[in-house]
């Protein structure tokens, strides 16, 4: 029982000290998964070799071999990351039977650190969504309250950790897909600086925004996992040679000397009052921890949303062109009616293989890139993106970290689209800007809503300044000492 409550770094320590075997750890989390996954649907595929792989870690330890900082830790891996020999679907019918012959760099690094994949986490199809309701494999329930969504697109990852089916999950974040579900499910979720973590082997959604990151129970685990997966990769030209600091060893809850920027454009009436209360409280905690609060301005905040949708749909329309049923993936049934020509073959495969949201975004992107529209839309969006990034560079001349909400509300109900259009619009603003600018961002639990649902706090830092961001989160975590777990988890 205790092992399910332990953070990942503690589990690894115990496994290395041989106080518990990796196999026992995996068995416990497997049992928890068996207990809850049928209901929560956090995993699309459970790794049937998980126990074997855990045994291999034990064998290495028995031989006295080096096992790494996440030895024996079960990991829920978002189904956007290729895992060799284990089905990878991106939650799409298009890849319903795809078994990759290779693993993503992130997966390889986790394995080298001793971690073992327990299952492939559910998500919105091709990471397009914010509620995990577009998955071909069914929606995911928020472990805190089954009537509510876990958030998205990394909904399964968040639910898996919240329900203690795994102590760590890896998600991906293109416009908030790690931070928002982390907020909805009471987790720490980190989107690193663009270029920190290799995208090789991760199904591409929007190449210049996507980043993988950890979703954990505490800041230290997140920092440790981030260290494992970060670093230049010779298979990804967009990774940085910046050295990877030992974030987990340098966590400091004393924020003296730090300036925290509060963007005036973020704090509007769009935020639900109970959420606003939680955010304000966290800001005061940071102040008590020694930080100086500074008002800053990010004037282009609002336009971040259309820029985000333009850039991501254009890149995605091209990234998803490879899904055609030729070399792998879904192929329509042509036994009753042969395709008219090769174009029809493609159209039927893709028309049937992709869900509505994905098709909508592909068409948006295709249109925006098409002849006559490129300059006015995609190119223009890229120009504004540069200005947005400059906004942040100017802001970080005045502060070390930025704080604000992750979302205007806590989790919303399954099937419900938030009825307040201003709220809907403002929500994306808090998260997409970090992806557009390439800066790191994270969510840390800040408290609960009036319904008792988790509410997260967002922290951003300048490029490659994850330590500052993690320290602020660490201070908040230390002060709040939140202990609640979802009902019925044990």
């Amino acid at each position: 029982m205790d092992i399910l409550k332990s953070p990942a770094t503690d589990i690894a320590a115990q496994v290395k000290q041989k106080k518990i075997s990796a196999k026992e750890v995996m068995s416990a989390f497997m049992k928890q998964t068996e207990k809850h996954n049928g209901n929560i649907n956090a995993f699309i595929t459970v790794n049937d070799k998980a126990l074997q792989e855990a045994e291999k870690v034990d064998a290495k330890i028995a031989k006295g071999e080096e096992v790494g900082p996440l030895a024996g830790v079960p990991i829920a891996v978002k189904d956007m990351l290729c895992t060799k020999g284990l089905r990878t679907t991106a939650a799409s019918k298009m890849l319903y039977n795809f078994v990759p012959p290779y693993s993503a760099t992130v997966v390889k690094r986790l394995e080298a650190a001793g971690a073992v994949t327990i299952g492939k986490a559910n998500q919105d199809e091709f990471a397009m969504g914010s509620s995990n309701e577009t998955s071909h494999f069914g929606g995911v329930k928020n472990p805190w309250n089954a009537d509510y969504v876990p958030g998205g697109s990394s909904g399964g990852s968040a639910a898996a950790v919240a329900a203690r089916m795994a102590p760590i999950a890896i998600g991906t974040d293109t416009g908030g897909s790690i931070r928002q579900p982390s907020s909805f499910c009471g987790l720490v979720g980190v989107k690193p600086t663009y270029g920190r973590v290799s995208r090789y082997g991760i199904v591409a959604f929007a190449s210049s925004l996507d980043q993988a990151g950890p979703m954990t129970l505490n800041v230290k685990d997140a920092a440790a996992a981030l260290e494992v997966i970060s670093g230049q990769c010779d298979h990804d030209s967009t990774t940085s040679a910046q050295p990877v600091p030992k974030w987990s060893q340098n966590l400091n809850s004393d924020l003296k000397g730090m300036k925290i920027g509060l963007p005036k454009e973020y704090f509007t009436d769009a935020i639900r009052p109970d959420v606003r209360k939680v955010v304000d409280n966290a800001i005061q905690i940071a102040k008590s921890a020694g930080a100086e609060l500074v008002e800053i301005s990010l004037p282009l905040t609002r336009v971040g949303v259309p820029v985000y949708y333009l850039v991501t749909t254009c890149e995605a329309s091209s990234n998803l062109a490879r899904y055609d049923g030729v070399r792998y993936g879904y192929r329509a049934d042509f036994s009753k009616s042969a395709p008219e020509d090769i174009a029809d073959f493609y159209s039927r495969n893709r028309g049937e293989g992709f869900g509505l949201e994905v098709k909508r975004r592909i068409m948006l992107g295709t249109f925006a890139l098409s002849s006559g529209y490129y300059d006015a839309y995609y190119k223009k969006a890229c120009q504004v993106r540069r200005l947005l990034r400059e906004d942040f560079l100017k802001a970080f001349a005045k502060c070390d970290a930025i704080m604000g909400p992750v979302f205007t509300t806590p989790a919303f109900k399954v099937g419900e689209k938030i009825n307040n259009p201003l709220q809907m619009y403002m929500n994306d603003i808090y998260t997409v800007s970090a992806n557009l600018a390439g800066i790191p961002g994270m969510s840390v639990p800040g408290g609960y809503s009036q319904e008792g649902l988790p509410v997260g706090i967002q922290i951003n830092a300048a490029h490659f300044e994850e330590q500052k961001m993690l320290n602020v989160a660490y201070a908040i975590e230390k002060a709040l000492q939140l202990k609640e777990v979802p009902n019925g988890i044990w």
Partner: protein, 477 residues
């Protein structure tokens, strides 16, 4: 080839496969051949999550070619995605370069009908090759070995004015690529591909006519024929009141015609945008300079040197430098026998002829450069006559033996001793009194008879000049 009042406007797009070990954006093998789908990787298969990483050598080769073509080498260029769907295009887009190519504004000088002409080159850009599809009636098969192989696309300005010029331009480009050792330039095998853009307009007209692209032209001869056919087709069409449709046509070499591809008429919308998986290509000026200084002497410069150092005419020089191996051969031979003009003549006529017939390249010729030099020395020191040399040459080509050995073995030495020749001349004159009379009565043509008889009697070995001199002297009486 004259087209009356019509002026052809031609531009060539040449795709050169760069001879790298691995592919443009991945480490799988770029070599030709290989078992079906052997040279592959997640990247060249377009698998989920695969990402491109630039092959440094491919960039180096591209810079080399750009420099050799007198282009501006851009210190920053961008890879862009060209989006379209085709089964041999695994990602559903080709990584190419669009509005910021690596090379721009170059030129190359070519020789057509003895005249030098400068052909401007618009640009050269890097891209990756697609795989291969084969068609079998009710299905097609895809092999991705070739997918991702590095290509350099060289685009000429539409300033080529005749099919012959086009072929010559293509040959010249090929020659340069082979000089640089970056591409083996094989049109038949496809390591060099030539697409021809053809339009026509009335002489004096400045506006361009509608352009047609011709593909599937896989030899220099076909370049000429295909373009000529297309020009004629367009002229005929316009003159009978038809409009030229902008399209892509395929050349049929068996019927010598171009055929419409008859695919959907909509022009493809490639939706080019900068590839977000790649950073802009930034070139270090000092690296480019280093490449520039390591360039081999290029055809044009070498031709100039042949003229000044060896006194060869411009035409000879230009022909000799087209193939680096031929130019190398020439220099070895010329330095040894010190008669460059003779070496040039022998190469341009006899050796080229033999190479063509036996389908060999000069590196595999049975006569090595130094052997040619030896043979020429024997002519120059009058050991053999130039006529005899033809026979010796033929024997050398057949057996690979040295000239000297052949001459010795066959006792072929030229007879230069005037006394010996005089003896034969006297004999022949004595044996043919009636011909003597004929000649002396004015029939000049009979002289040839005597020459022939003397040569025959001497087994072809008498020095022809001496024979002529002596006969003239003796028949004067």
């Amino acid at each position: 080839m004259a087209y009356g009042n019509w002026e052809p406007v031609i531009g060539l797009e040449i795709h050169a496969q760069l001879q790298t070990v691995s592919k443009m954006f991945s480490s799988d093998s770029a070599s030709f051949g290989g078992a079906d789908n052997e040279n592959i990787s997640p990247v060249s298969l377009g698998m989920p999550g695969a990402l491109p990483v630039i092959n440094k050598k491919a960039v180096e080769y591209s810079v080399k070619v750009g420099l050799a073509l007198n282009c501006e080498i851009k210190t920053q260029s961008i890879f862009a995605r060209k989006n379209y769907f085709y089964p041999d295009l695994p990602k559903g887009y080709q990584i190419s370069q669009y509005d910021q190519p690596i090379c721009e504004k170059g030129y190359v000088d070519i020789f057509v009908n003895g005249e030098k002409r400068r052909i401007d080159i618009t640009r050269a850009h890097m891209e990756e090759d697609a795989g291969k599809s084969t068609h079998h009636g009710d299905y097609s098969l895809i092999n991705l070995n070739r997918a991702g192989v590095p290509l350099l696309e060289i685009v000429s300005d539409p300033v080529i004015r005749s099919p012959a010029e086009a072929a010559e331009y293509a040959r010249t480009i090929r020659g340069i690529l082979r000089y640089l050792d970056v591409c083996d330039g094989n049109l038949e095998e496809g390591s060099l591909r030539c697409d021809c853009n053809v339009s026509v307009r009335k002489k004096g007209e400045t506006k361009f006519g509608t352009r047609v692209e011709i593909k599937n032209v896989n030899s220099f001869r076909f370049v000429e024929k295909a373009i000529d056919y297309e020009i004629q087709r367009q002229i005929d069409s316009i003159e009978s009141g038809e409009k030229i449709i902008q399209e892509t046509r395929l050349y049929d070499s068996t019927k010598n015609r171009t055929n419409s591809m008859r695919s959907k008429e909509e022009a493809s919308d490639y939706r080019y945008f900068p590839d977000p998986d790649l950073l802009p290509v930034r070139l270090d000026v000092s690296w480019v300079e280093k490449i520039k200084s390591s360039l081999p002497e290029l055809p044009l410069a070498r031709a100039a040197r042949f003229q000044s150092a060896y006194g060869l005419p411009e035409y000879d020089s230009t022909v000799l430098v087209l193939e680096k191996s031929i130019a190398d051969y020439f220099e070895v031979a010329a330095k040894e026998c010190k008669n460059p003009k003779a070496v040039s003549n022998w190469i341009m006529t006899d050796i080229m002829r033999e190479l063509k017939e036996s389908e060999k390249d000069i590196e595999h010729a049975p006569i090595k450069a130094s052997q040619l030099a030896e043979m020429i020395k024997l002519i120059d020191d009058k050991t053999i006559s130039s006529k005899m040399a033809k026979t010796v040459f033929a024997e050398m080509w057949k057996t690979g033996q040295n000239a000297g050995d052949i001459v010795k073995a066959q006792g072929m030495s030229q007879i230069t001793d005037a006394g010996a020749i005089e003896k034969i001349v006297d004999e022949i004159i004595a044996k043919n009194p009636s011909q003597v009379t004929e000649y002396l009565s004015g029939k000049e043509k009979v002289f040839g008879f005597f020459v022939g008889q003397v040569m025959k009697a001497s087994k072809g070995q008498a020095n022809p000049e001496t024979v002529n001199d002596l006969l003239k002297k003796k028949l004067k009486v």
